[in-house]
């Protein structure tokens, strides 16, 4: 699978393509809220008709639609079956149609909107990150840089894995991830220098903030987190999260099912970069993914992921990384005993990476899929062994990296 900017510029000219991206997103959002708040057949059927009309107006090719639908139909069938057992056939059918309508509509919006237009919408939505000392110009530099680094980090991953295979270390995720991250952080330093050398000056670019004068600048200075190096760290970590979702899932001896490494990236972001930059790295991936880049595990992307049953798990990444970052920065790395640090980082990763993310994911699945909270909870249980293994890997990697790069959390 190749992630590239050009594979998203293939938007067919159509009536829906001419509608501003922000408006399309707003309508999708409104429809989504409405059909979940008011569960009635007329409204749900109206949404389905609207979705089909949108697909027609977007001139979506049937073969692309079928390909996109195949995975979705399985999930919807599952939702209907579970719903039929717990809430009866009529309700289950409505939940199924509701989910179908929303996913089709999201698909129509994604297919009729150029990647950079959708990106611009999200950049506006996430403008509040300037309160963390990041300007929107930095955010968009971060987004572009992430797209640029995803293929590179993916290649580095395979290179390092090959080298470790040659040393007979194929079973050790740490042996692959530590060199990968060390190399990435080293190049991040140089990349930041190169950006400065090309006259990147956040102050002159931040037109909006600079105009507001010294108050804004004083706040930025206090936040102290707006330097070029921070932007690069956010971008390369976001690229790492995306790249880990694109490499083949790994099998660990203890866990029977193969696990994808994407949420490992989320845990690492918080544990390596701390709360704010870790959270921003997750936001960057989420924004790029919702805007249409196929970077969610297994090559998913677009607004369908957001409105689908597993959307909550993705939305939970940023708060999850925030919590992990806070715990790791202020508690887990404090003790002198190395074993205790491993244990505490593992617990932090479990709290943020399982506790917080599931706290978003489980209710979301319940609402989006129309299944009971209990069923959603039991379903999530299947992922706990894999996610626990990832928390352990996070600790092994993060403690090692922090011993090598002592100032990483305090930039």
């Amino acid at each position: 699978m190749s992630v590239s900017a050009s594979s998203f510029t293939t938007v067919v000219p159509s009536p829906l393509a001419r509608v501003p991206a922000g408006l399309k997103f707003a309508v999708l959002f409104a429809v989504g809220i409405a059909i979940y708040v008011v569960s009635s057949w007329p409204l749900v059927l109206a949404a389905l008709v609207l979705a089909i009309a949108a697909l027609a107006a977007a001139k979506v090719r049937p073969d692309r639609l079928l390909r996109a639908l195949s995975g979705l139909l399985i999930i919807i069938a599952l939702v209907v079956v579970i719903g039929a057992f717990t809430r009866g056939y009529d309700a289950a059918a409505m939940y199924g149609v509701r989910l179908l309508a929303l996913c089709l509509f999201a698909f129509a919006v994604t297919m009729s909107t150029r990647f950079h237009q959708m990106l611009a919408v999200f950049e506006k939505l996430f403008a509040p990150v300037r309160w963390l000392g990041y300007s929107s110009a930095q955010m968009s530099l971060g987004l572009s840089m992430t797209v640029r680094f995803i293929p590179e980090i993916r290649n580095t991953y395979f290179e390092v894995r090959e080298a470790q295979h040659a040393r007979g270390l194929q079973g050790s995720p740490r042996a692959v991830l530590v060199p990968l991250i060390a190399r990435t952080l080293q190049s991040a330093q140089e990349v930041a220098l190169a950006i400065d050398a090309r006259c990147y000056d956040s102050e002159t670019i931040r037109g909006g903030l600079a105009r507001r004068g010294s108050v804004a600048r004083a706040r930025e200075a206090r936040a102290g987190s707006g330097s070029t190096t921070d932007t690069v760290h956010v971008a390369v970590m976001a690229a790492l999260i995306a790249a880990l979702g694109l490499v083949p899932p790994i099998t660990l001896g203890v866990v029977p099912v193969p696990i994808t490494l994407q949420t490992l990236g989320v845990m690492l972001a918080g544990a390596l970069l701390g709360p704010w930059r870790g959270m921003l790295a997750c936001l960057v991936v989420v924004v790029l993914g919702f805007a249409g880049l196929p970077i969610f595990a297994g090559g998913a992307g677009g607004l369908g992921v957001l409105v689908g049953p597993s959307g909550g798990y993705v939305v939970g990444w940023a708060p999850g990384a925030l919590v992990i970052g806070l715990l790791v920065k202020y508690l887990a790395l404090r003790p002198r005993a190395l074993w205790l640090r491993y244990v505490l980082v593992t617990i932090s990763a479990l709290i943020g990476g399982v506790g917080v993310i599931y706290a978003f994911g489980i209710p979301w699945t319940s609402v989006a899929g129309g299944i009971s909270l209990r069923a959603s909870f039991i379903g999530a249980g299947a992922f706990i062994p894999g996610d626990s293994a990832k928390a352990v890997i996070t600790a092994l990697v993060a403690v090692t990296i922090h011993r090598r790069y002592r100032s990483l959390l305090h930039s």
Partner: protein, 244 residues
Amino acid sequence: MTATATSESETSAAELAPPLVLEDVTVEREGKLVLSDVSLELSEHRIAILGPNGSGKSTLLRLLNGLISPSSGDVRVGELTTARHARQIRREIGFVFQNPDNQIVMPVVCEDIAFGLRNLGIRGHEVDTRVQAVLTNLGLGHLYDHETHTLSGGEKQMLALAAVLVMEPSTIVLDEPTTMLDLRNSLRVRREIARLQQRAIVATHDLELALECERAIVIDAGKVVFDGAPDAAVGFHRELCGAA
């Protein structure tokens, strides 16, 4: 080739740029002396910096456009010092890094070249005009909308050079620009350096590239150990490295 004719007209352009002056510059990093008491005036059109790995070449180059500041001493460009006017000086002095992978920030070639222009506050049509012009000038026009990660090593180094040239600095600093390239690509980069109208300061292990310069400086263990004609410098450098 019309090398002599062009180099005469180019020299005049280089003469316009103010010389770079290092005055008793010392750089300390983590308690280690990386450069000690270096004083130089760099005014020639082509200057090579030679020296073994870890001798302080890269540090010297990074001082020139204020990417790092000296622990003591001054680095001046005309009236400006890098310690206080790093931003203005970076507009005058472009920097090409050794590893182009670390210099390319954008996913697409034209965007990456435009990045520096936008940083200079340039907007609208002029951006694209200048991007096209620099690509054509370097014979890279066909790469305009290519994704940067698909480029070959040689193309990446040429892109890195284009991205700096488009900003029209009066001096270009290059850190081992041919080290990672095969013979064909290193010849191509050398040819472009020879064509530059601007002053070029090149740190290199490529002795042939050094011989094409007007002046060569040899650095060892943080000190200037030779400064003069390239052929003598190359001989000195060979001896220093135990190859003579």
